[in-house]
Point group: C2
Chain length 132, copies 2
DNA sequence: AAATGGGTTTTCCAATATGGGAAGGTCAAT
DNA sequence: ATTGACCTTCCCATATTGGAAAACCCATTT
C-alpha cells in the first residue's frame, strides 16, 4: 500500500506521515524498487494510534513516549496513566489561561457601546491598563 | 533610549521588538550614527499596547488591526468591539476543544488501574477507538 | 510504443511567537 | 587602551501543517 492509500485509510495526511517518519515516530517505511514508501496493516495501526493521540492533544514527544509504552509488553499501566494525567493537567492550565483572557475581553467589550462613535474603552484600556 | 531600556520599560523583549518592527507592527525605529535603534515615549506607549493585547491572546495580525484602529481618530467603536468579540468567540471555541480532550483523557485514565500491571485501557483505546 | 493523467518523490518556503547563540561593532568607565 | 555591557545581523530551534515546484513512476488510453 502506497502512502496516499495509507493516508486516506488512517486520516493522517501523506505529508504528516513523512513528517512522522522523519521525526522517528514511525519506522522508516520500506521502499519499492522505484523508491515509493510501502505500508502494511501494522503501519496503519500505528498511524491510527498516532492520529487518535493527536486528537487528544498529545504532542509529538508525548506520542513517542506513548508508542514506546504501547510496544512495551511489560510496561506498567501507572506510567501510561501518569503521562495521560500530566497532559490533562497541562490542558486544564491552558484552559484556565484562555478563560482569563475571555473574561477580560468580555468585560472590556461590555463597556464599549459598539456604535459609530470613535470612543472605545477597549482601546483606552489596552493603551494604559496596569493589570492584565 | 536604546532597545534594551525600551524592553525593560515595556516588558517586551528586545528580540520581540525587533521582530515586531520587521513584521510592520511598529514603524522602523530611528537609528543613531552607530546604527543603534532609538525609542521615544510614543514608541513605548505603542509597545505597551502590543504587550497587553498579546496578554489577551490576540495574534500579530489582530494586533496590527487594533493598532490601526487605535490610531484612527475617526474609527467606529463597533469595529473594535467586533474584533474583540470575534477573538473571544475563537478563544471559547478553543476552550471547548481542550475541554473535550480533558474529558476524554480523564475518562480513559479513570479506567486505568495505574499500577505495575501492563494492562492499560488508555493504550487499548488509542489503538482501536472509533470515536474521538 | 507513445502520450496522458494522476500519484509520488524530494526539497524549499510559509505560517504561529519566542528564545538561544554566534560573530562582530559600539559605548562608557576605568 | 582595555574591559564589560550593550548593540547589530543572521541562523537555528521549537510544533504542526500546508503549499508549491520539479522530477519521476505507473496505468490506461490512443
Amino acid at each position: 500500500m502506497n502512502i496516499g492509500q495509507a493516508a486516506s485509510a488512517t486520516g493522517v495526511s501523506a505529508k504528516m506521515i513523512r513528517w512522522y517518519e522523519q521525526q522517528g515516530l514511525i519506522p522508516q517505511a520500506t521502499r519499492s524498487d522505484s523508491n515509493y514508501r510501502h505500508y502494511t496493516e501494522t503501519d496503519l495501526h500505528r498511524l491510527r494510534f498516532i492520529r487518535r493521540a493527536r486528537d487528544l492533544g498529545f504532542s509529538i514527544k508525548q506520542i513517542a513516549d506513548l508508542l514506546a509504552l504501547w510496544n512495551d509488553r511489560g510496561r506498567a499501566s501507572a506510567d501510561v496513566k501518569a503521562l495521560a494525567l500530566a497532559h490533562a493537567a497541562a490542558l486544564r492550565g491552558r484552559i484556565t489561561e484562555l478563560e482569563g483572557m475571555v473574561t477580560s475581553i468580555d468585560h472590556l467589550a461590555e463597556n464599549c457601546h459598539g456604535d459609530a462613535r470613535p470612543d472605545c474603552p477597549i482601546l483606552d484600556d489596552l493603551s494604559q491598563r496596569k493589570t492584565a
